[in-house]
Structures are given as C-alpha cells and as structure tokens.
Amino acid sequence: MMLYGYAGKILRVNLTEKTHHIEPLPEYMAREYIGGRGFVAKILYDEIEIGIDPLGPKNKLIIAPGPLTGVFLTAGGKTELGTLSPETGGYGDSNIGGHIGPEIKYAGYDMIILEGKAPEKTYLYIEDNKIEFRDASKYWGMECMEAEKALKSDLGEDFQILLIGPAGENMVKFACISHDYGRQAGRTGVGAVMGSKNLKAIAVKGTHSIPLYDKDEVINIGKQMFKACKEKDAEAQWSIYGTIGVTDWCNEVGAFPTKNFYDGWNPNYKNLNGPTAREEIIVRDKGCFCCPIPCGKYSHVKKEGYDVYVEGPEYESNALIGGSCYFDDIKDVAYGNAILDELGMDSISGGNVIAFAMECFERGVITKEDTDGREIKFGDIDSFKYLAEKIAKRDGIGDLLAEGVKRASKILGRGSEDYAIQIKGLEWSGYESRYAPANMLAYMTCDVGAHHNRAWAITYDVATGRDKLEGKADRVIELQHIRPLFDMLGCCRLQWVEISLELDYYPRILKAVTGFDYDMDDLLKLSEKVWNLTRAFWKKHNPDFGRSWDYPPARIMNEPIPSGPAQGKYIPKKDLDWLLDDYYKKRGWTEDGIPTREKLEELGLNFAVKDLYGV
C-alpha cells in the first residue's frame, strides 16, 4: 500500500560487515507509531537485547524523521535520534533541527538503523541509494565546525552532515551529535554511541520528492500556517531573542539554576539576558528547515583571550553555563558554549558536570592534586575551559567526570552524591524547580531523565499556586502527551508553545500529507502509547526500575533555596511522594510507577506485558 508523506523505506546499516539492507517501512509502523520518536521507541523496544553494553557493538543508534519532516509546513525540520543510553542505562532519545531530517527523507529513508561497530574510523556516505563506508581518518580528531567544513568542502556544499567531535570519539557519556554549524542532538549520550561505533560522521544528499496525499491542500494549509505565524503578536518578540529571552523571567521567579543548583537566581542576570546578548554578540538569526520564527542566534564573541563563532547561547546553555557555573558576562557564557559545541559535548550535561566539579573543588572533594595544580573556581572561564578539555580527552580527572555526575559522585563519595544534580543519571536542564511542583514532577517523570522537553510547567505553577500540589499531575500528563507528539510528527513544537499557533493545524496537515484521518485525540492516544512504551523499556532493561528511580538528589529534596525570589523554598520528600502517587494513579500505573497490565493492553502494548509481568 502506497504511503504518502513517507519515503517508504528503512535503511539498516551493519557497520561491522560494511553492508546495508533496505527494508520496506511496514504500514502499521506509520499508522500506529507515526514516525520520529515513535519509530525510535518501537525499534529500541523490539531490537535491543537485555544486558548489552551501550557502548558495545550490540547497541543501535536510530535516526528517524517523521511524516511532516521535509514537507511544506512551518518548521518541518526535526529528527529524533535514539539509543540505549550509555549515561543512564535506559531509554535515550534526543531531537535535532537544522536540515538533516529533510535530507534523509529526500534521500529516500524514513529511518536509519546503525548496528555493529566499524573496524576502522569511518564515515557513512549516503547519496540517494548509494551507500558507502568511507575512511574517516582525515577527519578523526577534528573539532565540530572544522570537521563539518572539511566534509562539505570534500563532498559538496549540498550534503547535510551529522558528526561527532573529540568527546564523542572518546565516548564521553554525554557527548552529542552535531550538525549545521551549531545544532546538536544533545542529550543522553547519543554522541558516545556513535563514537563507540567508530563512526565520525554521516553525510547525506537526497534528490527525491516526498509524495503528498493531497498536494494542493498541503500548499493551502502550509501557507495558512506561515501567515498565522507572521500575524501572531508574540512573533516579533520571540524572533529577536529566541529562547534566551526567558532568562530575565526565570531569575525574577527564582527558577534560574545557580552555582550547581545551590541557588535559584544569579544576581548578575541582566548581564546574561536577551537584550545583552543581542547587543553584544548576536550577528545572525539562524533557523531550521522551513521555520518562520528562527530561534537560533549565531554569535561572534570577541574578548581578550578569545575570538569565536557559536550558535548560541540559547537559554539552556545560558542557564547551565551562565547560571550553574556562575558567570556574569554573556561573552564568557558564549565562549563556554563554543568550547562545549566544538568538543561535541551536550551543553546541558556539560555545564552541569563542570559546575559539579567546581563545587567539588570548593568543598575539597577534588583538589589541586587532581587538577594539575590548577585552582578551579565558579565563574572562571579558564577553569571551565580546562575542565572541558580534560573531559573531552578523558584525561585525569576528566576521565571520571566524563562518566556524568551520577557515576562520578558515586566514585568520589564524601557526600557529593547529594549535589550531583541528575535524575536517572541524566543531568538537570535549565530550570530550578524547588518552588515549582508541577515542573519538579515533570523532571522526575521525564522518560529520558531530568529534562524539560516532555513537560515544562513553571508558568502553570506560578499561575495556579506554587505551594499547591493538586492538579499538577494532570497538567504534567497532558503536556507529556502533546509535546512529544511533535517529535513523532517530525516538526517543531515551538510555533505552538511560544507563539500559540493553533494546534488544529497539525492533524489537518498530517491528513493532507499522509491521508491519515486522525483527530487530535487520536494522535494524543498514540503519544500516550509511546509514553508507556518508553517506561516499559526502562523496566525491561532494569529489573529494579521503579519509583526509586524517579527521585531527585538530596540537595533538591532537602536544601531550601538560599536567596532570591524563591528563598527558603524546597519540596520535601513527602510532597514529592504525594505528587508521584497522584501521577502514577492518573496514569494507570502501579504504586511503584510501572504501567499495569490493563494499561498496556488498553494501549495495544500487549507485547510488553510478557516482559513486565511474565506470561
């Protein structure tokens, strides 16, 4: 049966044997899992064997655009990558923008499955149906911008590139995959998995058209979406700053991570905000495929000691570098962002890990003996650079820190686990949530670890009562269905999230592209299915997985925020338990946070029942 909106093919690559196989995309995959995150979750669940080493040849790296990727609508440029995370041991995924997803669709693939391990340093060359395993020794060791430039120069500017930096090559557990001079699939260590496969890059060029079910209607609705975005009052303000625009507000409500999440605001936040960035460093608005409201800000950062270009800092890098590592100059933040981007490390985890090291040094848990005689300080760009480079090379203390804060703190001991800011092994993203119970719950229950991609609820907390616990679970569950739906469709959610583009465009354009007649409720049900599937994946691969994996570290549970607008606030464990109880009940999960047999069957996940409950 002809599938519209899809290429209709899966590219399965065996790096060990240097062979590949093209499989047809089964229709049920498109109809039940849609694409992107849905494909990633299903393939990982079905194909990853229990007990494998995430950095061994049996792990797989899945790259999946969606039916709306590469198609005419606003921001159809998003691609999901996924794997068994080497940092958490559970479900890992990471989304990337830019132009890679569309190019994969034009090359004729809905999904690329990377298996095995290449015998030599390799890059994968994909030009429509021409697949080659090429020698990457020329590029191995290069930092990200240099490597991308070299590949495009050698292959042609019309190739889109995914690549790793030195951190990925050295399998730093939070290494990212980079693309388009400043975009990343940042989280859960997807770059480490790519490095473990001896794969430096994937270069893609595609010349095919994407078949559309109702081409005139796609053009019609796509034009409506572009027009609607242009007319939104919020559009102009958003496009000037992108996500860094929320820096002021987060500080003003005490939600800005500060000094390794010790405090909730940085008193120098005006030196780090959107207007300061715009004035001092931003040179270009840089966006993803077909996006009318580019959030990317390309910056040129010059100060005594450095002169660099970087796409950023976006809010997250600003929060984890500017806030958590405690800087007071946007230029230092941007430079720190550039250092991490060039080495190929997630700036959220990287910022967290470096902040953790800074606090450890303050407390004498790490000393000059560990740091080549160097003093490590919060707010010191030389300390930041030193640590980043040690980590990327896995040299000395860097080798320990490259494991992520959960493992590093276990080995360092001396109470450092209390301020290793992570959940399930994934470092916290940029929102201090000790005075935001819905947001705290969002972090606790996110299916990759402490990340806000699935649910962001601070405004809801502020609007409905920051001391209130009731109603928060309902809101988080709602967000956890709608937000990741975009990751299944293969397009960006920020047009809806940031400027309120109406949600009903999406089922309409999906129908015009694919012919699938789903309303929003149908789609949200499919998203709920994937939500339960990823939770089941965690349990399948970690027999002791359950409620205990959802808790934050001791600092978050016990230490009141010391200063600023949220001074004195924290959420004690009994309240976190209340939130979890409410959440699990409403999700149809056990008291230990595992989907019940009934819930799995209701959602058509019968195949998971055996894994979780025996026969």
Binding site: Q237, C250, E252, C295, Y315, E316, H452, W456, T459, S500
Partner: protein, 77 residues
C-alpha cells in the same frame, strides 16, 4: 479610566474565563502590575508588556484607552 488587556502567546489560558481580550476599569496612576492584581491575574506570570511593538514592563502606567498585550514566559523550548 478604561484600558484593554490582550492575552498574547499562551496567556489566554490564565485570563479570567480564558478570554483573549479584557477591558478593565482602573484609576489614573496605577501601574500594570497593580491593575493585574486588581483583576485577579498574577503579575508573576507576565513576562512582557507590549505596547506599540515594544516591551514597556510591568511598572508601566497606562493612559486612558490604551491597549497592552501581555506575554507569558517563553517556555524555553
């Protein structure tokens, strides 16, 4: 005097009765923050106050018949 409050971005959800436009009576000399409190809207959820395409901030004192747009925080991605 009368001013108009317009819900921008996702603000509609937090307006009374989830309306998009709110016409309110107020006194001369009151700033936006206080006007919001008077009308049951928590000023903490307002990030930007838009007038004529510019952010005038929550301390802004509106004139009679002005219309301001209220934007909640950009949800950081």
């Amino acid at each position: 005097m009368k001013i108009t409050l317009k819900a921008l971005g996702g603000m509609k959800e937090f307006f009374p009765d989830k309306k998009e436009i709110l016409e309110v009576e107020t006194e001369n000399g009151k700033n936006i923050s206080d006007i919001l409190k008077d009308n049951g809207i928590n000023p903490d959820i307002v990030m930007l106050v838009m007038l004529g395409g510019k952010n005038v901030g929550k301390d802004y004192i509106p004139k009679d018949n002005e219309e301001v747009g209220l934007l909640p925080p950009l949800a950081g991605g």
